[in-house]
């Protein structure tokens, strides 16, 4: 551990949230104009260091509980960090950091200069909300933080208006759906509170496990499932996502695809396994079938739609619909291997999709859009960016040697061991369809002749490229040296399925 952090080691969970919060609050003062970017990089960088240290602490010493205000749970709000939360926190901070570093130029182009201060402030507050959700151990506190991240994300998406006015509409639609989703979660938390008298998540879990549940808990579960599905864009409640991700400013799309949906999935894991009652650590059959069915349909539908889209952003967004399906599939089945696969895919997908959306943003930065008609022959004009897209696409397929292979392998093994051969077939089918949409890009970028007006297009500067290659490269590197990460994910999965962390 870094020495100077030693005295603060007890406070890591709250520091993780506090740093981006203070960064966001101070951004309008310190981060005016072009300094805002440096301020955001500094803030997210500090948060990443805390997240790394926190993962080390949790890895060696077990879950951390932090009583805010010194009030013991369940009276005060408790922060609770177990292995899963530490992993997701590290994914969000590190990918968030790299995306922030990358986005200096694209933000300068896409956001009016006089509003850079508020932009970076809102950017950091969105990260604050996401991190707060990850570390909290209190159900209502999670709702409040969910609303912070949601509110700021609506604002960020709408800033795509300078490129396309549709961004306003997709932000508005997302606001309506997101608020309905959050309200459903609020209803569910209210029902659970009425039934148990507590808001602390582990206390809730104990009391729910001990009670017979009945109509109240069943309805709470239904409302949670709908609300969370909206938040994590699980088919058939995914429809806000492609519109939002394809119209948002490119930096924002990368940030959201890598972090926001992941945190939605994390919330689902939390609620389903460590708050709501489970049957010996597993979901009951109707839940498995419902979630597994939606996830399977998401893989199928998302992959088919992805191969029919007219632009790279839309392709990637629909591919995300499918990838959410994979993660939820492993989450639903509840087998230890499947859950490990889920957690692995959550991490790897954040790296790969984050990198891919950065590439999509690079094309927008150079060409003004990433419609496929514009990308003809781009592989020869922008070789580094195009190669990164292809490598990322191979990861989406799950070609051996990429990290996508590792996560899908665990997922498949878990599905087969848990006796779900049909769902396992769907995973394979989804991979084949991922090959189709990846090939579509290869065909356009490498086999088509260069568009006539694209003669002057050159590769983007190095400072936009290296973050992309860092993300894609690390996803490949983890695919070649998977052992430590797999072990980490397996431990996290075991803790989750063991009921509580």
């Amino acid at each position: 551990m870094l020495n100077f952090l030693q005295p603060w080691a007890d406070h890591f969970p709250v520091l993780l949230v506090l740093i981006p919060l203070l960064g966001g609050v101070l951004a309008p003062i310190f981060g005016r104009g072009s300094r805002g970017w440096a301020w955001a990089v500094l803030t997210t960088g500090c948060a990443t260091i805390i997240a790394i240290e926190m993962l080390l602490v949790v890895r060696s010493g077990g879950a951390i509980s932090y009583p805010l205000g010194g009030w013991p749970a369940p009276f005060g709000i408790e922060l609770r960090v177990d292995l899963l939360s530490a992993i997701v926190a590290l994914v969000v901070t590190s990918v968030g950091w790299i995306v922030t570093i990358h986005s200096r130029r694209s933000v300068q182009v896409e956001i009016p200069r006089d509003r850079l201060g508020p932009f970076w402030s809102v950017w950091l507050l969105a990260i604050t909300g996401l991190l707060g959700i990850i570390v909290t151990g209190d159900a209502f506190n999670m709702y409040v933080l969910l609303e912070i991240s949601a509110l700021t994300i609506y604002g960020l998406i709408a800033m795509g208006r300078s490129r396309d006015r549709k961004a306003l509409v997709s932000a508005f639609n997302y606001l309506i759906l997101g608020s309905i989703g959050a309200s459903f979660i609020l209803i569910a938390i209210g029902l659970l509170y009425a039934h148990t008298g507590t808001l602390n998540m582990s206390d809730l879990h104990q009391r729910l496990q001990a009670s017979d549940g009945g109509a109240t808990v069943m309805t709470a579960r239904a409302f949670l499932l709908v609300g969370l599905s909206l938040k994590m864009a699980l088919f058939p409640l995914h429809f806000w996502m492609p519109a939002a991700y394809s119209t948002a400013p490119s930096a924002v799309a990368s940030l959201l695809s890598a972090t926001a949906t992941k945190v939605g999935i994390y919330m689902a894991m939390r609620f389903l396994y460590t708050v709501l009652p489970t049957e010996g650590g597993a979901l009951t059959d109707p839940n498995v079938w419902l979630l597994g069915g939606c996830a399977g349909a998401a893989i199928f539908y998302g992959s088919i739609q992805a191969s029919r889209q007219p632009s790279l952003s839309l392709l990637l967004a629909y591919s995300s619909v499918a990838q959410v399906g994979y993660i939820v599939l492993g989450l639903a089945v509840g087998h230890i291997d499947a859950m490990t696969g889920s957690i692995l895919h959550l991490m790897f997908h954040a790296l790969m999709k984050g990198g891919l959306f950065l590439c999509a943003g690079i094309f927008i930065y150079r060409l003004g859009s990433n419609d496929f008609t514009q990308l003809a022959g781009i592989g020869r004009r922008m070789p580094w960016t195009s190669a990164a897209v292809v490598l990322g696409g191979l990861g989406m397929i799950g070609v051996p040697g990429t990290s996508g292979f590792i996560s899908k392998l665990h997922l498949l093994r878990g599905l087969l061991l848990a006796d779900h051969p049909i769902l396992a077939m769907l995973v394979l089918l989804g991979s084949a369809m991922a090959a189709i949409y990846t090939w579509k890009f290869v065909e356009i970028a490498y086999l088509k002749p260069v568009a006539e007006d694209a003669e002057e297009i050159r590769e983007v500067p190095f400072d936009m490229l290296w973050p992309v290659w860092l993300l894609i490269g690390s996803s490949i590197w983890l695919g070649l040296n998977p052992a430590p990460v797999v072990e980490l994910a397996a431990d996290a999965a075991r803790a989750l399925l063991g009921g509580g962390g």
Binding site: H11, V25, G69, T216
Partner: protein, 350 residues
């Protein structure tokens, strides 16, 4: 029959009627006014259900600030709602389905006022006794005088106690939500090119939105009101620990005073009293004061927002002090953000 329940049922019937009327009304101005009435009815209902602080907040934030905001937005959006083409059977089915599920889900909840309900039994009694005690592993001395409770009788309003201390972390983020909303509006609404301050700008609906009022009567009477609103705002701010009130309500009141001032005397005059940079700064400072109080507690060896760490010898007094500080932070952010949001939505230079 319990008079509380009787009044509750009557008021709720009225509220439901107001809600339905607001949704049926085609003139958006009418809709907004009906929503204001609905909100006021709700404020009365909250008061009847013993939720004084919620009532106060609903009246100031829900019926007050939200209505003003909606009205100002309507001057830029237009008040006409096109009729026709907006009834949908699938929507109706979906909504009825949700309703039925919820009726089922609430059917096993404890009856109205049940003293044996889980919500009344588990953690609420300890809040009401204000006798929880800090976690023992911290350096808190164990001599916290028993019978004095957590706050030494300094905070009889338990809502404030839960809001600012037991669940102070939630409230910090509540303040951050307001701050985020303010930032989002600064981000989203583009500033209209600057004109000289006294120019009369007339927007579409014909109302003059940011020059001073022409009526001498309005300006005199309104001007007399402003100091009283401000004093009341500060009273509500300071009184939060003892009675209903606190930073949220006070912040809205203070903002209302300045909004009234700018409506009566023009925005330029308000800016002379309260420079814009100060408002911008206050938005950040409020959250900073809140979080900073928490960090100070950490620096003094306690947990985040453990106010008793500020003075180990007199923990109860330190709690009260910490709550006053964070409430001041809330008030500062709420007042400045409401002011900013209203001006942003109103449009014009900022």
């Amino acid at each position: 029959m319990d008079p509380v329940l009787l009044l509750d049922v009557l008021l709720l019937i009225l509220a439901v009627l107001a809600a339905v009327a607001a949704m049926l009304q085609r003139d958006l101005l009418g809709s907004v006014m009906l929503m204001g009435i609905y909100s006021l009815l709700m404020a009365v209902i909250w008061a009847n259900l013993f939720a004084m602080d919620v009532s106060f907040t609903e009246a100031s934030v829900g019926a007050g600030a939200a209505t003003v905001l909606l009205l100002m937005a309507l001057t830029r959006i237009g008040t006409r709602e096109r009729s026709g083409g907006d009834h949908s059977l699938p929507a109706l089915v979906l909504v009825v389905l949700t309703g039925v599920v919820l009726l089922y889900g609430t059917s096993e909840l404890p009856r109205f006022g049940d003293p044996q309900a889980p919500a009344q039994l588990h953690i609420a009694p300890r809040y009401l006794a204000q006798d929880i005690g800090k976690v023992s592993d911290s350096a808190t001395p164990q001599d916290s005088p028993h019978g004095e409770g957590d706050f030494g009788h300094h905070v009889p309003n338990t809502v404030t106690a839960v809001l600012a201390s037991y669940r102070g972390y939630d409230t910090m983020f509540e303040t951050a939500v307001i701050f985020s909303a303010g930032m989002c509006l600064l981000l989203l609404l583009r500033p209209i090119p600057r004109r000289s301050p006294e120019t009369v700008t007339i927007d579409e609906s014909g109302s003059t939105s940011h020059q001073k009022s022409e009526s001498v009567v309005l300006r005199t009477i309104g001007g007399m009101l402003i100091p009283y609103i401000l004093v009341f705002g500060f009273y509500v701010q300071m009184h939060g620990e003892i009675g209903p009130g606190g930073g949220f309500q006070a912040g809205v009141l203070v903002a209302a005073a300045f909004i009234l001032h700018s409506l009566l005397f023009g925005r330029a005059a308000t800016d002379r009293w309260l420079p814009r940079w100060l408002v911008d700064l206050a938005m950040s400072l409020g959250v900073l004061l809140y979080a900073g109080t928490g960090v100070a507690c950490m620096a003094m060896g306690g947990h985040f927002l453990d106010y008793s760490a500020l003075d180990r010898v007199h923990p109860a007094e330190a709690e009260a002090l910490g709550m006053t500080l964070v409430e001041a932070g809330v008030g500062l952010t709420v007042a400045s953000v409401v002011l900013t949001i209203v001006r942003k939505v109103q449009g014009g230079t900022r």
